[in-house]
């Protein structure tokens, strides 16, 4: 089984990936997912995270089958 990872917007361009499927082995939290996605980069405070389409923090537990997303600050709406 696995974790589905999604990456959006400027973060996707910076990391050069829009996501991946990761084996769940050794992954307990959102921070663990980030360590696999970008092993050479600390998880910056400006990166937003979601688990199963709800906002989450880095220490939130992740289990088999979860969808984990990383993205920059949102800029919808209008001027």
């Amino acid at each position: 089984m696995s974790i589905q990872v999604k990456i959006f917007a400027s973060l996707r361009e910076r990391l050069g990936s829009d996501g991946m499927e990761l084996p769940v082995d050794g992954i307990a939290t959102v921070a663990d997912v980030w360590a696999r996605v970008a092993p050479d980069q600390p998880l910056a405070g400006s990166v937003l995270m979601a688990v199963n389409m709800d906002y989450a923090q880095a220490d939130q537990p992740v289990v088999d089958g979860d969808e984990v997303a990383f993205f920059p600050p949102v800029t919808g709406g209008t001027a």
Binding site: A50, P73, V74, T75, G77
Partner: protein, 143 residues
């Protein structure tokens, strides 16, 4: 109680004219709406086009949550959110929010809440094209 994300241009007034708010029409005393349009200027630079990215699934979920919060907090008859994604040109409507209520203050406050919260909570990202270069909008303007 509609939340709609559209990759096609939309006409906010046709959207409103074609929408029948929930609840007894005889008891609706107020409708407050906000429409955001794309401008050809941002942070002093000329913008030619813009691309709006979203997170399919989560964006809808976030907007529905927001709408439900507003409806509950201000006891609205109904609320509506329409948001554009994809490639936009200046003057294109980006977003429409509307709140229907028995009384004016509830409708006005809920409408403002919806657009302010949408900007900070709904996963949308803007990339601006400036002639031959482009840039991601890093943060929303305060007002």
């Amino acid at each position: 109680m509609t939340v709609r994300i559209t990759a096609e241009p939309f006409d906010p007034y046709a959207e409103l004219a074609g929408y029948t708010p929930r609840g007894e029409a005889n008891r609706i005393g107020a409708a407050a709406t906000f429409i955001g349009f794309m401008r050809d200027l941002n942070e002093g630079d000329d913008i030619t086009t813009m691309e709006l990215e979203h997170y399919p699934g989560m964006t809808e979920k976030a907007l529905e949550k927001l709408r439900d919060e507003a409806v509950k907090r201000w006891e609205l008859a109904d609320a509506l959110i329409v948001h554009r994604v994809g490639k936009l040109s200046p003057t294109d409507p980006i977003v429409l929010v509307a709140a229907w209520s028995g009384h004016r203050v509830a409708a006005l406050e809920a409408c403002r809440f919806l657009i302010e919260e949408l900007k900070t909570r709904a996963p949308f990202w803007k990339k601006e094209q400036l002639g031959d270069r482009e840039r991601w909008v890093e943060h929303n303007t305060p007002g």
